[in-house]
Symmetry: C2
Subunit: 322 residues, 2 copies
């Protein structure tokens, strides 16, 4: 993986993805003690950055392969990204989703025209189910993060930050599951805005990337469920993403589920954007783990907003005074 | 009022206001039966378009006048706009607000450094209170809509739409109180995107502008309270705004409070933005009064997002399945 693949993906994405803005509020700056810039990928098509990687991967396939259709396994946001990209390209999509995924994500994926296959997160392997379906139907598996063209697509988030802040210095906090977004952003910043450093943010108890960065080898999470941050609950960093993360990223940060909910309430109140728990953890780290962040300015990638109304209402009820 | 004043204001605003994007979702298109584009002014500084007019008006004052300070009366969004603009320019601001304004708006206005004076909406006149304070302290009154430089500032919303959609045809629906935003948008579109036509949207029972347009003379509302759309409850169109509205706008539309809440829930779910009731009525008209709208594409200005958590939670609870 190098910057050439990132730039090639950016050319394929041009005109198909939204260049999201950088939002700010004096109230956020006051909480964090530094200038906070938030990149709201919740405003991206399908409500998360995942559309970027999906479009990149599908657009990189040769025509005949793409026409047979694609398959993805995902807690939801990758699913929606692949489903919409496939629909816009006129090809079939099958999505394998955990049975405990938010109802909104399942419904949206179906509404985008994809066929949804549900599996049990604790007792079944989505990888095995996916491989069997791909074999049977001639579908191409689009992995959610450990896929070069997906990483190159997510990197466009970093290119946009670099284009908007070419001379900035400081930390860029990124909500991190398997590391596709974080590694892509790191690649883009390293090449185009070397004063900015990508740092992964994870939920407490699911800090596989932070531990992997500290130890220098891939570490796994003990659990695969139990956080409200469903979008970033992954077993371990990927074989492709980890070497990039290890080479380019600063230390990982972790936040609690309550801090994620509080950041959602702050984003509601001060930025007027809707974040899901897993999409709010980078902002949570900027606001509530400020002592672990470097620089006069911090950039947070707010990676998604696909949250059930009930969970959002809970965040407002508990932390609406935040 | 002509396009020269609009362009002069745009030059003063350059670099100080956000050029908000145009958002869309296939789900919105399906509800409306046409392509829907939403301009999220909730993402503007202070959470509403009002910052544009405030910056325009304050930046147009001569230095000595501005230095003595400014005064505004407002249900809240104009207050926040004037307060932040004044703070950024380093001058004092006094804001007169109704005692039933949302707590968030009162608190934010104070947090921006302004002095807040509360009045009773049913028994007192904000105009009289404002005039007395202006006299006593040498403050300059910044009216919320019937002010040439405020209208010229709000017009920048229309210039941005015209820049993004120079060749489009159809209706541009605008949340309308006293008509500052609507008249400004109409002026800009008339000059820069004549295929687009501004149309005011009001809450049922507060359709003074729609009735004024039909009759050709300024009509007043019977009530001054009783809608959840506090941001757009004004007694009548202004002496400056009405002639512009009458000359350039298409017929007005009205929506119910429930339709405003439902549009808030749709915006939450499909666009991941936070709208207040009065800021959601243009979207509500596009979605639920589609038979009264012309063209293959409709643009809605979503004018603000300063809503209390309780009201937002109510919208999600009642219409989260929308």
């Amino acid at each position: 993986m190098n910057i050439d693949a990132v730039l090639a993906a950016a050319r394929r994405l041009d005109g198909h993805v939204r260049h999201t803005p950088l939002l700010s509020s004096p109230f956020l700056d006051e909480i964090a003690g530094r200038h906070v810039l938030v990149k709201p990928e919740c405003l991206q098509h399908t409500g998360s950055f995942k559309f970027r990687g999906a479009w990149s991967a599908l657009s990189a396939l040769d025509d005949a392969t793409r026409a047979r259709g694609v398959l993805a396994y995902s807690s939801g946001n990758h699913a929606q990204g692949v489903a919409l990209a496939a629909r816009r390209m006129g090809v079939p999509a099958v999505i394998i989703m955990p049975s405990d995924a938010p109802a909104l994500k399942v419904a949206n994926t179906r509404a985008f025209g994809a066929e949804v296959v549900l599996y049990d997160r604790d007792s079944e392997s989505r990888e095995e189910i996916g491989a069997a379906l791909a074999d049977a139907r001639g579908l191409t598996l689009i992995k959610p993060y450990d896929h070069p063209e997906v990483i190159a697509g997510q990197a466009s988030v970093g290119l946009e930050i670099a284009a908007d802040l070419p001379h900035a210095t400081g930390d860029v906090l990124v909500c991190c599951g398997g590391g596709g977004l974080t590694s892509g952003v790191a690649l883009a910043l390293d090449s185009r805005a070397p004063g900015l450093r990508a740092r992964p943010v994870e939920p407490e108890g699911f800090d596989d990337v932070a531990r992997s960065l500290r130890s220098g080898t891939i570490q796994r999470n003990d659990r695969q469920s139990g956080s409200i941050c469903d979008a970033v609950m992954t077993p371990a960093p990927g074989d492709l993403t980890f070497p990039i993360l290890h080479r380019l990223c600063g230390p990982g940060l972790t936040v609690s589920d309550d801090e994620a909910l509080r950041a959602m309430a702050v984003a509601f109140k001060r930025l007027k954007i809707v974040l899901e728990p897993g999409g709010a953890i980078a902002l949570a780290a900027a606001l509530f783990r400020s002592d672990q962040v470097d620089g006069n300015t911090v950039v947070c990638v707010a990676s998604g907003g696909n949250v059930d109304p009930e969970t959002f209402a809970t965040a407002l009820e508990r932390f609406g005074d935040a």
